[in-house]
Each structure stands twice: as structure tokens, then as C-alpha cells.
Amino acid sequence: MSGSDPEELLPLSPAVFHVLLALADAERHGYGIIKEVEARTGGRVRLGPGTLYGSIKRMLEQGLVEESDERPDAELDDERRRYYRLTDFGRRVASAEAERLSGLVKVARAKQLLSRA
């Protein structure tokens, strides 16, 4: 799958895109992803455990994310948890989705549906 064209997976579901964004700058475990998404969206998006791990399962199958072997510092590490990180393919898919959404925003702006620049 990682050799595929990122465009084939678009559009992404909101949950998948949020998980990709959460992992774009750091490796995180499940709860870390949920907290990052909540913080970034001002609490408007709250991923439930079923939504999160269902998305992660499909993203692992599609090669968008992978489990990380590296562990954080001992005092921060929770051995019970698995950490996830973006793959190169996952990063390309996230970029492609961001471009797609950016294109839509441009259209909305051109049609004066957005009040701010």
C-alpha cells in the first residue's frame, strides 16, 4: 500500500485526518492522540476509544501509521501503551488531504463563503 498513489485514499474520514495530524509532529499513544486532537480543536472533536482504534487498525493496514519501537524517557513511559508514528506514505497522504482541503477553502473564499482572509 505504501507504494500507492496517496490520492487513491482521498478523501480521508475526519477521524483519520485528525489522527494523521496528531502524529505529524510526534509519536503518541492512543490517549495522547485523543488529547492532542481535543486541544487542537478546542474540545470540539472528541475521539472515542472505538473510533480511535478502529481508525488506527485501518491506518495500520493501509500503511499510513506504524507502531513505534522507540519508547519515551523512562519516567514518561507507560509500558502498557503502544506508541504510533506516521510512515512516509502516511505523511504524503496527510499532505495530499491538506492540499485537497486547502483547494476547497480557496473555492469557498472565492465564492465569499468565508468572512476572513
Binding site: 492512543g30 472515542g48 476509544p49 472505538g50 473510533t51 482504534y53 502498557r80 503502544r82
Partner: protein, 214 residues
């Protein structure tokens, strides 16, 4: 006024039970971490009182209701799962249809012409068969247990149900048929018949090779 703390351990246990709504493979892979996430949620809202607890459970149940069916559907879509399930359902439905439409009416019409023990045996085969097949079908479809373990569990559950029904009938007011050795032997024989039939079926399936989803 002090806000009461959430009883987190009870919530955790309840959520761990609810995880059974997901397919077994999914539960094995992610169940522990899902429970950990729920645990974290409990902790972060532990001082919020009843309102926080209600919100926590509202979100958890909605999430479960939306995602568990999807995971089951995906499992069924994956390599041969649908055909395996359809075969199981078709076999069970055919058994029920045959029992209810052919065997039961024939038995009802000829019940007076047959020796007492044959009556008891057919009676037991029909009643036990309906319960045994139902239990086995539910266990197989929900994938709680599979193969020989499902047959054993179906035998145990059916024995319990049949035993309870016989006891109920025995002690119900106005009961006209009382428990005797013939009825007990007929019930035991019919349980053995259904147990053997299901065991033969799952062992034969096992020899035909593992399912494509395995």
C-alpha cells in the same frame, strides 16, 4: 458544596464488559488499550460528579454503538467470513424449518399410535433440538466460542435450560405429565444426539481446512 467523586472502578468494570460488543480479534488487539483510554477518561473527570459521569457514559455508549457494528461488518466482509456465516445461518434455518414444518406436525398427528418411549424421545428431540440449535447459532454468530468449544457450551446451556423447563413443568399447578425415568432417558438421549450431530459437523468442517478468515 463538594462535588461527589465518580466511582471509577465500577465504570471501568462496566466498560470492560461492554467491550464484548466488538469482534474477538479486534478486542484482542485493541481491547486493553481501549480500556486504558476509558480509564484515563474516568480519571480526568473523576471530580466532575454525576453530570461528568453521565457525559462520559453518553460519549462511550455512542462511540460503542457507532463503531462496534462497523468492526463486525468489516470482519464479515474479509475473506470468506460472509459465506461461512451464511452457511451456518442456512443450516440452522433449515433445521428449524424441517423440525417445525415436517417433524412436529407428523409427530402431533401420530402421537397416539406410537409406544410411550418413542413419544418421549421424539418430544425430547424436538424440544432439545430447538434449544441446542439456537444456542449454537448464537455462539457461532457472535463468535463468543467456536468449534468444539461452542458445541460443549451449547450442550451445557441446553442441559440447563431443559432441566429448568422440566422442573418448572413438574412443579407447575395442574401439571398432567409427571417426571419419570422414560422422560429423563429420552432427554439425555436427545442431548447426546444433538451433541454428536454438532460435533460431527464442526469436526468435518475442521478437516475441510481452516476458514479463509483465520
Amino acid at each position: 458544596m463538594k462535588t461527589p467523586k465518580i466511582n471509577a472502578s465500577r465504570s471501568r468494570r462496566a466498560y470492560a464488559v461492554l467491550l464484548a460488543a466488538y469482534p474477538r480479534e479486534f478486542r484482542r488487539e485493541y481491547g486493553r488499550e481501549m480500556a486504558l483510554v476509558f480509564d484515563d477518561r474516568c480519571r480526568e473527570r473523576s471530580t466532575g460528579g454525576a453530570a461528568a459521569l453521565a457525559r462520559l457514559w453518553g460519549e462511550a455508549l455512542l462511540d460503542l454503538a457507532l463503531t462496534a457494528p462497523r468492526e463486525h461488518l468489516e470482519r464479515l466482509r474479509g475473506g470468506g467470513g460472509v459465506m461461512k456465516t451464511l452457511r451456518t445461518v442456512a443450516t440452522a434455518v433449515a433445521t428449524y424449518a424441517f423440525t417445525l414444518l415436517v417433524v412436529a406436525p407428523l409427530y402431533a398427528r401420530n402421537t397416539g399410535a406410537m409406544p410411550g418411549f418413542v413419544n418421549n424421545l421424539i418430544d425430547a428431540l424436538i424440544s432439545t433440538g430447538l434449544i441446542f440449535n439456537f444456542v449454537f447459532l448464537v455462539l457461532t454468530l457472535t463468535r463468543r466460542l467456536e468449534g468444539v468449544r461452542a458445541v460443549r457450551a451449547a450442550l451445557a446451556l441446553t442441559t440447563l435450560v431443559v432441566g429448568a423447563l422440566i422442573t418448572l413443568m413438574e412443579f407447575s399447578p395442574g401439571a398432567h405429565a409427571h417426571l419419570n425415568l422414560r422422560i429423563v432417558v429420552a432427554q439425555v438421549l436427545s442431548l447426546l444426539v444433538w451433541f454428536t450431530a454438532h460435533l460431527w459437523w464442526v469436526l468435518r468442517k475442521g478437516r475441510a481446512g481452516p476458514p479463509a478468515t483465520a
